[in-house]
Symmetry: C2
Subunit: 400 residues, 2 copies
């Protein structure tokens, strides 16, 4: 048999989609909902990318689909939440002669002179052979038919793994496994509203929430003239990057004018409380938007101790402003470097570090330990109902 | 010059402690508090490990200390929150002749035949030379005096880095850098109470909170006879491992009898709500303990969607039971595999996977979408005040 060492892998025709242990251990009813959602999300991503495909089928804890551009499709799908890994594959029947012939063909394309290899087989269904039979026969044929390549079997740490998945009357053969992003399928959890500044932290926080299945509704508080259009632009761009992880879902962002509120706060209240009071007003408006959107929580990008407003004390004082919804803070335990690392991975770092005007309302000495009593007194100076009403009436919805 | 290729590195006499960018960018007042705390925590760990040391001094964004067992001490200190890296080092004066002689001595011990190396110098203070002068002179001397080793300079990716830190009249020379755990010094944030089950998730959540500076007060709810002493044992062991990251801090854990409460819930309320109602009672008791401890928040190990009680909807319904304190959930955005990875790193995985009786009160079909109205009705069947009072009166405090 001739080894085509310098030619490309012949075009595979299928993709094996694996979704991790967390979905697998759900009760049957829940698992079916998760699997159906994952399938929908997969189809949305393929359609969005104009990738032609057929036969998206779920079988024995995998999803299989057919397409002619398996590598490109796999890379796109590797960003679908819930997928743990993918393999471009070659489909054939589960007849042992077909499995062996196709495996040999696939191995021939992937193996190079002197390589070590292993054959792994997983099988579901009734067959006149065991998985071990398949491994032995395919291994033997590879060694015999490709003898001029000086191949060696190494089950521990092979250069090339020939994977064979047999599902009833079909078999899928592959040599490549692409890591997926993990998490749970988007849409298996309710929506969450997210306070998006556009800085490094908030997009990472919301990506993590999406990863666990929650579609997000970003809210940007526009503090012009303490900020300007560059700040707004940055937030819109960050939201766009996040929505690229949510193909098929709503791309709606709320922009709430907040400059007048901030001006009032600064005029009427102790300067050291500015950030706390500002955020408390944001939470109140966010609760109203959560009502409108049918969301189940408010998410922020706070990390303990990163800024003055994020001491454990101040997080407590902030939280009491939200009465109907929990404030979820997925970055609580993150170091800045860890957040930056994820931002780079998910594509928001570049956007978040573009030039934008930082809020000039930031006081010289923000409190790190706000007194709840003083805060309530300060808020007595404000007509909170009116501010929230004004914010809701003046917000605009942007479809990105 | 003779290269002692097979002998050990001569005993270094100092340690350079680096603490990351997050402390460095704090305002001066806050930074000083953080540095003082870090210094205290370092001394506590050294004392606890019976490591003799002198001269723990803070200078220009570093902490330097003297000890004769620099490697062992550095490894212990690499677990002190707030430290980004450490280097066992050799101290000398900042006279150029001393720096060069000592550097040559250090390089000679670390370099092997054919190695590439680089010299890096950072300097604070007034000196009759620049950092570049030092690098050039030391590099030149190494190449000349150790010529028989066939060394080569590689500034990009050297086998050995000879680091030189000059601080006014002192210089520290090193070739090894040990990664620290990062985070913020423990005790720079207020305390948090933590609902510790002892399973894989909760210890990781509390470690992350400690990493950001908060001392923890674990609370274990003892659900005997739905669980048994193996479950209690697991929680106590997990707390011990966590406290090993908090040398010098309180090692106090609360054990609250909760079995009777759970029995009452099961008798009086819809079975599908059991876990939600059980956790809501825990939150209420935790609030009372937070009052007693002067803590500023309640932390749990919830990850969105991991269990039925952790859907975004149910997290919302749970949270409303806490009225004074925020519920912080640092694992919200974590996949199980990510949590397990940290558990292994911090040493809790082994404890958390030891055999323990899982709670048998878990219902067959727990709700994934609790109705707040039905929940409030269910709770009307319970004398909540009385249950909380009973829990507080029957708790015991364990010093671990």
């Amino acid at each position: 048999m001739q080894n085509s060492q310098n030619t490309k892998l012949p075009t595979s025709d299928s993709i094996i989609v694996r979704y991790g242990g967390e979905i697998g251990i759900k009760g049957e009813w829940t698992r079916r909902i998760y699997e159906r959602r994952l399938r929908n999300n997969i189809e949305n991503v393929l359609n969005y990318n104009k990738i032609k495909y057929t036969n998206v089928i779920k079988k024995y804890g995998r999803i299989y689909l057919k397409t002619s551009i398996t590598k490109e499709a796999s890379l796109k799908l590797s960003k679908v939440f819930g997928i743990s890994s993918l393999s471009p594959a070659f489909e054939t029947t589960s007849k042992i002669s077909d499995v062996v012939t196709k495996s040999l063909f696939v191995a021939n394309s992937a193996l190079h002179r002197g390589n070590t290899f292993a054959v792994r087989c997983r099988r579901v269904g009734d067959h006149p052979y065991t998985s071990l039979d398949i491994c032995r026969e395919v291994g033997h044929q590879i060694l015999t038919k490709l003898s001029e390549l000086n191949l060696r079997v190494d089950l521990e740490n092979p250069d090339v793994e020939v994977g064979i998945e047999i599902r009833e009357d079909r078999a899928f053969i592959y040599t490549e496994t692409i890591k997926g992003v993990g998490g749970l399928p988007l849409g298996t959890q309710p929506k969450a509203v997210c306070l998006l500044s556009g800085g490094i932290d908030s997009p990472v926080a919301y990506w993590l929430i999406m990863k666990r299945g929650c579609p997000i509704v970003p809210i940007y508080f526009d503090n012009t003239s303490f900020t300007d259009e560059s700040t707004t632009e940055r937030a819109l761009n960050a939201a766009k990057v996040l929505f690229d992880w949510a193909i098929g879902f709503q791309r709606r962002m709320y922009v709430v004018p907040h400059g007048q509120t901030l001006t009032e706060l600064k005029e009427k209240c102790n300067e050291r409380l500015t950030c706390i009071l500002c955020k408390r007003m944001m939470y109140r408006v966010a609760e109203r938007i959560a009502d409108m959107e049918g969301a189940e929580g408010i998410v922020t990008g706070d990390a303990i101790g990163e800024q003055a407003s994020q001491t454990l004390r101040n997080l407590r004082v902030l939280t009491t402003a939200a009465v109907k919804y929990p404030i979820h803070r997925p970055l609580l335990g993150f170091d800045k470097t860890e957040t930056e690392q994820i931002a780079r991975k998910i594509g928001t770092y570049e956007v978040s570090t573009q030039r934008a005007k930082e809020c000039t309302a930031f006081p010289r000495k923000p409190t790190t330990s706000a007194d709840p009593q003083k805060l309530l007194e300060a808020e007595k100076e404000l007509n909170i109902e009116e501010i929230v009403e004004r914010s809701i009436n003046s917000l605009r919805i942007v479809n990105l």
